[in-house]
């Protein structure tokens, strides 16, 4: 046997290890992803038959075992809008500060650590905080405003970090040119940086709101109502909400028809997936159109 042959055999063994390793990684990726697909397909196949105009526009009846989900749907829309009103300006403002104004010093590092921590606080702890501050201390009661504020603070880190990333992606030369033409810093941000970063910011905002729309724990003690026979008429009313409604009808109501459970799940899933898809479309279209 000469040397070349030996080299050949050992490399076949190596190749076998490699093939095995690659196979395992591929399998892992499949094990991770397949359940997601199955869950989504399963929920749609079971739940779509329950969806009808009446299901979306009627109040629950017969102890929620019949009828529709209108108040929960409306409540979630209100909460999402309320969350957006608070968290979008605040989050974008914070991101603009970090990306455009903040010097690299101890305070800025403290802000970043605070944001990382906000992102990690368990959602149920946000619920406790909302109860303590908004519901009790500020005496908003269990209300849309208390729930929205709680969700908004929880959503803030997502919006800040994605927006900051979008702002930092705008080439610095644009800022220098604008300043050199006699622009103030804010003029530069408003006329150049923000418009260029807009698609990235929108994507971040939608992903943040998507999370808020699906959350249950933060609204448990701040806004969510088990059942209400009417729609909320002011921001100081409590309201039903889709995620909490799904929780209620899948654990708290005996003899609940599965069809209505799946139907509710489909609506919630569509709400969340729809936002996700919109965000993805905005992102990919902006990438295609980008001039830099």
């Amino acid at each position: 046997m000469d040397k070349t042959l030996k080299l050949g055999t050992s490399s076949t063994a190596k190749r076998r290890v490699q093939r095995l390793g690659y196979g395992l990684m591929t399998l892992a990726a499949l094990v991770t992803v397949l359940p997601i697909v199955l869950i989504v397909v399963h929920i749609y196949s079971q739940g779509l038959p329950a969806i009808s105009w009446e299901f979306l526009t009627a109040f629950p009846s017969d102890g929620m075992r019949a009828g529709g989900i209108l108040p929960a749907l409306v409540g979630t829309i209100w909460l999402t809008i309320g969350t957006a009103i608070v968290s979008v300006p605040l989050g974008i403002g914070a991101a603009v500060y970090l990306a455009e104004y903040a010097a690299d010093n101890r305070w800025t590092r403290a802000i970043r650590i605070a944001i990382i921590n906000l992102a990690g606080i368990p959602s149920v702890v946000y619920g406790l905080f909302g109860l303590g501050l908004f519901v009790l201390f500020l005496q908003f009661g269990t209300s849309i405003i208390a729930g929205s504020l709680t969700l908004a603070i929880m959503t803030l880190p997502v919006i800040i970090s994605t927006t900051e990333e979008a702002l930092r992606a705008v080439p610095n030369s644009f800022r220098v040119v604008s300043i050199s033409l006699g622009g103030t810093q804010w003029q530069t941000i408003r006329r150049i940086v923000l418009p260029q970063a807009l698609p990235g910011m929108l994507t971040g905002v939608i992903l943040g709101l998507e999370r808020a729309a699906g959350e249950t724990a933060p609204i448990l003690f701040t806004v969510a109502a088990f059942f209400l026979p009417r729609l909320p008429s002011s921001i100081f009313d409590s309201t039903m909400a889709l995620p909490y409604h799904l929780f209620v009808i899948s654990t708290q109501v005996p003899g609940m028809p599965v069809k209505i459970q799946y139907g509710t799940a489909v609506v919630l899933l569509s709400f969340v997936l729809g936002m996700n898809i919109i965000a993805t479309i905005i992102r990919s279209r902006a990438r295609a159109r980008r001039q830099w």
Binding site: P171, V177, L181, G182, G183, T184
Partner: protein
């Protein structure tokens, strides 16, 4: 590297160049720099005790090896250095007798009067027309007539009008590199500044585009004071009315372009011009 200097250059300059420019060297001094030192936060001192008078309605060229402090000087004149990590700043930069380093100075007004063109053409992500009116809009101008006038005037002055007058609303990125750089020049001209600073404006351009920019500058100097950092010694020699040679943050030599490139006083200038270093 070939040299622009003529072959009969004397072997060495006779004496040390007086780095302090004599007072009232020019009838019409536009920018007077006095004892200017600039240091950055990373410890490098970028400019050391520079004194220099820049005449009005001439092209003054700042040349020398990279890292010599030319760009720093340009960016100090229009206070663009405010954006950088400057830790020490001494001396004065007077434009028409006003110290522009004064913290109380209105920098926005200064930058409008002192326009700047950068090495790479950076067109803003908008239409050709909007690029030109951007500066005016920032200053609060709203009259569409003013915009129209500025667009045509500035494009003609930068020799771009013929090429783009029929597609002013196209995105500016659709222009070629040379056209983009002339658009950047026009964008500065639209503001009708007094002084134009150009930092290696032709470094990325082909010879034909470079020629167009250079000939525009020759016309523009009748109305403007032009300070140019060239991208080569050849360009420096071609366009300079006056030239200043910078080395390691120091002003080595300053004089009439015709003189300096033919009879440099300092041996370091000569070495550089003849391509022995840098």
């Amino acid at each position: 590297m070939t040299t622009a200097a003529s072959p009969n250059t004397p072997a060495a300059g006779p004496g040390q160049m007086e780095s302090q420019a004599p007072n009232d060297q020019f009838e019409d001094t536009k920018i007077r720099i006095q004892g200017l030192s600039v240091g950055y936060s990373d410890g490098t001192e970028s400019l050391q005790d520079i004194s220099l008078d820049i005449p009005a309605n001439q092209i003054t060229v700042l040349f020398g090896p990279s890292g010599g402090g030319k760009s720093t000087l340009l960016r100090t004149i229009n206070r663009l250095n405010d954006l950088a990590d400057v830790v020490s700043l001494e001396g004065r930069v007077l434009i028409d007798g006003v110290d522009v380093l004064d913290p109380k100075l209105d920098v926005i007004e200064l930058r409008r009067r002192v326009g700047m063109v950068f090495a790479r053409p950076v067109v803003l992500p908008m239409s050709i027309r909007q690029n030109l009116t951007y500066g005016l809009e920032l200053s609060g101008e709203k009259d569409p007539g003013q915009f129209e006038e500025a667009v045509e005037r500035s494009l003609k002055a930068s020799a771009l009008w013929e090429e783009v007058y029929d597609r002013l609303d196209d995105p500016a990125v659709s222009l070629s590199g040379g056209q983009q750089q002339r658009l950047c020049l026009a964008r500065v001209l639209a503001l009708e500044p007094d002084v134009i600073l150009l930092d290696e404006p032709t470094s990325g351009l082909d010879p034909i585009s470079t020629g167009k920019v250079e000939s525009s500058l020759q016309k523009l100097k009748q109305e403007y004071t032009i300070v140019l950092v060239p991208h080569s010694v050849q360009q420096a020699a071609r366009v300079a009315d006056y030239a200043a040679f910078f080395l390691n943050g120091q002003l080595v030599e300053f004089g009439m372009g015709k003189e300096l490139f033919v009879h440099p006083q300092d041996s370091r200038t000569e070495d550089y011009i003849e391509g022995r270093f840098g």
